[in-house]
């Protein structure tokens, strides 16, 4: 038997990992676009579209993997829309990102109403249509051995496969961006595209590749929301996570590991928010629910105020690349 406080720690840690996963996947996706020099405010919209696609396709085909693949394709198509507007046509990156968010916020419910007579939701998914939690070997035995064993069984294990993907994404992104030639070229396209071009490399192609990576990760982020964290798509289920991911990217100085840390910070604020509701505090009494739900947003603003912009923003971020 373990004491109440230890159970609490296990529950909160597991919930932080789960809440951080969509943020990490979205932020790493944003990282690949922004290190290539393309500002991406469209994370929210892509995640929403991907969540809806994953749930709809999974509901129709009964296969979670097919749903996830479709989500990746849709998110990548939206990234290509961003590519056309901002890289190919040299349009405004901020406005294009917002256009994708608002387009998705309108198009997704429109399609949801048209396809499923459920008032804007997708049909609830059965276990076959979901990405179920993985159980680590010997979990059953470990969970009877005390705190460490329970940690192994219910925090390290018993999670969706996409959680492992998310936490492996930071080291993988570090390896790709800092240890490969392609990563060096991609970062250079975000710092000094003119120099990249004069070295005989194709800036437009590099930014295209960055945006494809971006679409893949946002497809995973959206798929996690509707296939793993929930059993189907519900209205506006991203609820600002795409913007939190951008804030995490800024706080993380556009570097994979610090960005992962920032996502964990926001996830902790969110987990805390869930645990604080209804608790009676000495002297304060019960904090009103709206104040508690606002906690992650307040943390984000304070964090952005402290982090500022800094010197580490990719130098060419937000600027259209015009061939000399």
């Amino acid at each position: 038997m373990i004491a109440g406080i230890e159970t609490e720690i296990l529950v909160i840690t597991a919930s932080i990992l789960r809440l951080a996963t969509p943020l990490i996947l979205a932020a790493i996706g944003g990282l690949f676009a922004e290190r290539a020099g393309v500002a991406d405010l469209g994370l929210e919209g892509k995640m929403l579209a991907a969540a809806f696609t994953a749930a709809s396709i999974s509901a129709v085909t009964g296969s979670a993997i097919t749903g996830l693949a479709a989500a990746i394709i849709v998110a990548t198509l939206l990234s290509m829309l961003h590519f056309i507007a901002t890289v190919w046509k040299q349009g405004d990156q901020i406005v294009s990102g917002m256009a994708i968010n608002i387009l998705a916020a309108g198009l997704v419910p429109t399609l949801a109403y048209a396809l499923f007579p459920l008032g804007g939701q997708t049909p609830p998914l059965t276990d076959d249509g979901r990405l179920l939690d993985l159980s680590l070997p010997f979990s059953h035995w470990a969970s009877s051995t005390g705190f460490i064993g329970q940690f192994y069984a219910s925090v390290l294990g018993g999670q969706s496969i996409l959680i492992y993907v998310a936490f492996l994404a930071a080291p993988a992104a570090t390896a790709v961006l800092y240890r490969t030639g392609w990563g060096l070229r991609l970062r250079a396209a975000g710092e000094n595209p003119q120099a990249v071009a004069s070295a005989g490399l194709d800036v437009v192609r590099l930014r295209l590749q960055g945006l494809i990576m971006n679409g893949v990760f946002l497809g995973l982020a959206g798929g996690y929301l509707s296939l793993a964290a929930n059993a189907g798509y519900s209205r506006n289920m991203t609820a600002g996570k795409g913007y939190l991911a951008i804030a995490a990217l800024i706080l993380g100085r556009w570097k994979p590991w610090p960005t992962l840390g920032a996502c964990l910070l926001f996830a902790a604020a969110d987990a805390l928010q869930g645990r604080l509701q209804g608790i009676v505090f000495p002297a304060l009494g019960v904090i009103p629910v709206p104040w508690i739900t606002a906690l992650p947003y307040i943390v984000t603003v304070i964090v952005l105020a402290i982090a500022g912009r800094g010197q580490s923003m990719p130098k060419a971020l937000g600027l259209p690349y015009v061939k000399a």
């Binding site: 040299q90 349009g91 198009l107 009103p288 709206p290 947003y297 603003v301």
Partner: protein
């Protein structure tokens, strides 16, 4: 990137007028194609939309009421854009502006309208500007991403209003989270009541004196940006931040000034909603108008007067889609949001730097 070349004036005017029309048409055509894909006849839908928006006197009144809110919201986005800033926080600023107006109406309940209405408008302006000031200050002093902070302030505004309306300002003994109805003296006079006072009978609709206020605000905004020193500084910072720095213009203060102005305009949209229509504070009265304002502000391009046709277009979509939904159960209100997204894409993102100042500073 480069300064605009000076084409002949006639050409420039033709382009300023035609370009947004082409951009918006592109957005509408793609919307029509999407309608066709989900099995709705786009031509029949357009017909039903136009009839729903302009086909009978009440419809026109409702369209003008929506246009009032969208003019304030669009002007707000447009003013910030002129300074190279992207104000996504209109939704929260409208919410807070309405709160300011509502607090005055509650506090001065029963006093004559000639006192309450101007004070409430000033309160709406102050609250809207104050809600914009914090993200503006963080941008100017810390370089904090304006888009993210203003979005967070939209969420925060919703949380504050939910708390106020469920726990603090709710009418006692009532379940719905709203205040008691204000006494009629503090309402913004509707055109229907003004006309009947003059012995003329017009169709009953919520369009009210805020419409006149909105037109004056657009004229004032255009004058300020185009004809005053402050407006000149604002345009220089928006058009060429390097030149502004070289000329000794403090871009930080210009950003704060422009965003507070933007927040004030958005706050006045709250007056139209709270004092002109609902006559009480209710949950979620901005209803997405802050985001409509983004499409309207981007459509206007360089010219503030462009806010008026943009607001009318989206007002017609908002009002016309009500009839469309009655005719066609496959359509839901979010259809209008989709059209907004497409218009922002074509009239904003794809029009690019030809007509928009660079937004790097606004990130």
């Amino acid at each position: 990137m480069t300064a605009d070349t000076e084409p002949s004036r006639g050409k420039a005017v033709a382009r300023a007028v035609l370009q947004p029309i082409f951009d918006v048409l592109a957005g509408l055509i793609v919307s029509g194609l999407i309608l066709a894909v989900i099995g709705v006849d786009p031509l029949a839908a357009s017909k039903s939309l136009v009839h729903g928006a302009f086909g009978y006197p009440e419809a026109i009144g409702y369209t003008l009421y929506y246009a009032t809110t969208y003019m304030f919201a669009g002007l707000s986005v447009w003013l910030a854009l002129r300074a190279g800033l992207f104000n996504i926080g209109g939704e929260g600023q409208i919410y807070l502006g309405g709160l300011g107006a509502g607090l005055v109406c509650v506090a001065l309940d029963g006093m004559p309208g000639i006192v309450v209405v101007p004070v409430a408008c000033l309160a709406a302006i102050t609250f809207g500007a104050a809600w914009a000031f914090i993200p503006a200050f963080l941008l100017a002093k810390r370089g904090s991403s304006l888009v993210v902070t203003t979005i967070m302030f939209n969420f925060l505004a919703a949380a504050v209003m939910t708390w106020l309306l469920t726990a603090v300002m709710i009418k006692p003994g009532q379940a719905a989270p709203e205040t008691a109805e204000f006494s009629a003296s503090s309402w913004m006079p509707s055109f229907t009541s003004l006309a009947s006072a003059l012995g003329i009978s017009i169709a009953n609709s919520p369009v009210n004196l805020s419409l006149i206020l909105a037109l004056l605000a657009v004229a004032g905004g255009q004058f300020l940006v185009g004809r005053t020193v402050a407006g000149y500084h604002l345009r220089v910072v928006g058009g060429n931040p390097d030149a502004a720095a070289y000329a000794g213009i403090d871009a930080g203060w210009v950003a704060i000034f422009a965003l507070c102005l933007a927040g004030a305009c958005a706050g006045l949209a709250g007056v139209n909603e709270v004092m002109g229509v609902h006559h009480r504070l209710i949950l979620d009265f901005p209803n997405g108008a802050g985001f409509v304002g983004i499409a309207v502000g981007l459509m206007a391009g360089r010219n503030g007067w462009g806010v008026i046709p943009g607001a009318l277009l989206f007002a017609a979509l908002a009002q016309g889609s009500v009839d469309l939904m009655i005719d066609n159960p496959r359509i839901n209100p979010e259809l209008v949001v989709m059209v907004q997204g497409l218009v922002i894409f074509f009239a904003g993102a794809l029009r690019g730097q030809l007509t928009l100042p660079k937004l790097r500073a606004a990130r």
